[in-house]
């Protein structure tokens, strides 16, 4: 049997959309708002029509900072400080490695990194249980 000649045409669309400039402007405002009043901000990258060219340009412009935080909770999360202090590139994946969401967070430390008082209290109680002398 003669095999079908299947030619799938894939047209690469690699043009920048101009979205990066808009994101940078939003980040600029968000950083100023954070400095003025401590208001944090989140940009959800999934909601923006970013092409591969935009994404690369955004990554290149923001650059890499000094901190990378990896969290294992319901799958991996990677939080990277960008070259601009106060701007974090956050990627949440599920246990199968599928991307749940990708965010740019404007804050000193993303909320998810902090240990909460209630959790520290529970840990303290647990540790006391471990170190208690047997009667």
């Amino acid at each position: 049997m003669k095999p079908l000649e299947i030619a799938v045409v894939i047209e690469p669309r690699d043009d920048a959309t101009g979205m990066v400039a808009a994101i940078l402007r939003e980040l600029e405002d968000a950083l100023q708002a954070y400095l003025a009043s401590g208001t944090t901000h989140v940009i959800d990258l999934a909601t923006l029509p970013l092409g591969p060219a935009d994404r690369a340009a955004l990554q290149q412009t923001l650059g890499a900072g000094e901190i990378e935080v990896r969290i294992n909770a319901l799958g991996a999360s990677l939080l990277r400080e960008t070259g601009f202090a106060g701007i974090w590139w956050v990627r949440h994946e599920d246990v199968e490695g599928k991307l749940l969401c990708e965010l740019l967070e404007v804050t000193d430390v993303p909320e998810i990194v902090r240990a909460y008082r209630a959790d520290i209290e529970a840990a303290s109680a647990r540790l006391c249980g471990l170190t208690a002398l047997p009667n």
């Binding site: 030619a7 989140v42 999934a46 909601t47 909770a73 319901l74 949440h92 599928k98 749940l100 969401c101």
Partner: protein
């Protein structure tokens, strides 16, 4: 503990951390396209909220909607939310049966009267006091009316519950009606689809718990999920705009992934998120697998003519021929395009008739 555990506490009781919860909230906020300020509010409100009671009633349905919800890849957002709500009654999933199940439902209704969420799956036959669908001696009609009385809101899951769906298809032998035809005095949200996308079902429940009823379209569907047509967001849309159509399911056009409009795709008139949220853990959606959209999230989709005839065929009651090129050029707004082609067709017919007349004589 006397009170119901909060959603965050029930997360933690299942061995999941606060960070897992925050991550869940971030994913849910992204799914719901919430603005930044509301995303933070979501985590705060949802965490502090008592586990909501949900009563899930199934009537004239095929259980496909529940399959969609429970067979999604695990553990996902859908699983997490279903682990954190208190599903007080679902005759397919619960262990109890018969009188014990009904007693559990009545107890849950009594405890959460005025606060529980009623999810209805399937249409309800209305004639003869609902005699065509009776469960445990009680008609579906009586059940839905009784349970809706104490509900904070009603969510109709699937096209059968939302619009009547397949049971209502001509000649509608049981006189099936949609939930919105029966329940008039409660907030009601329709989540249509045959089945609906699982993330939409859970996303809507999460949104409702946190912020109340979301913004709805004319068919009472959440705009965030049903605001665009499949066609608007379809990756094959550029081919439609260029007038490149597959003519059969195995021609070069089909193999090259051209637009399926001429093969009957109902994408242009179907409002849903399949093209962006996709199915089976984000794998693909029907058009990506090479078949046109059936329009399953729209009212009366079963009786809207041939699945394999182009949408415009319904306007012309005939073949389509070369006019499609014009439809494609007109492109962006289908209504306008169809009107244009219909007009073109009429003009053409008139010319043909006029030309033919002298010949006939």
């Amino acid at each position: 503990m006397d009170r119901e555990p909060t959603i965050l506490e029930s997360f933690q009781q299942q061995g999941m951390s606060r960070r897992s919860f925050l991550k869940f909230c971030a994913a849910a906020a992204s799914l719901l396209a919430l603005p930044a300020a509301r995303a933070a509010e979501l985590a705060e409100k949802l965490g502090a909220m008592p586990r909501p009671t949900v009563i899930y009633l199934s009537f004239q349905e095929c259980t496909g909607c529940l399959e969609s919800l429970t067979r999604s890849f695990s553990p996902t957002i859908e699983h997490l939310i279903f682990d954190t709500i208190s599903l007080a009654y679902n005759d397919t999933l619960q262990a109890a049966a018969g009188e014990a199940a009904e007693a559990a439902r009545e107890e849950a209704m009594r405890k959460a009267w005025g606060k529980y969420v009623l999810v209805v799956d399937g249409s309800i036959p209305a004639p003869l006091d609902g005699a065509y669908c009776v469960i445990g001696g009680k008609s579906a009609l009586a059940s839905v009316q009784e349970v809706a009385k104490g509900a904070a809101a009603v969510i109709a899951v699937g096209t059968c519950a939302a619009f009547g769906g397949l049971p209502m298809a001509a000649p509608n032998p049981t006189g099936a009606v949609a939930v919105q035809d029966l329940i008039k005095n409660k907030p009601l949200i329709n989540i249509s689809g045959c089945p609906p996308i699982p993330e939409i079902i859970t996303g809507t429940i999460v949104y409702f718990l946190t912020f109340g009823v979301p913004e709805l379209d004319a068919h009472r569907r959440p705009k965030v999920f049903y605001g665009n047509t499949i066609h608007d967001r379809c990756y094959r849309r550029p081919f439609y705009d260029k007038g490149l159509f597959a003519k059969t399911f195995d021609d070069a056009g089909a193999r090259n992934g051209w637009c399926l409009y001429e093969l009957g795709c109902k994408g242009p008139t179907t409002y849903n998120s399949c093209a962006t949220m996709k199915w089976n853990g984000g794998t693909s959606f029907p058009i990506e697998s090479g078949h046109g959209c059936l329009g399953c999230s729209e009212p009366q989709f079963w009786d809207r003519g041939d699945f394999y005839k182009p949408l415009s065929a319904g306007l012309w009651h005939g073949s389509i021929g070369e006019d499609l090129g014009i439809a494609a050029v007109a492109g962006a707004v289908l209504g306008g395009a169809a009107a244009l082609t219909a007009r073109h067709r009429q003009d053409k017919t008139r010319t043909e008739t006029e030309t033919r007349k002298p010949e006939g004589k």
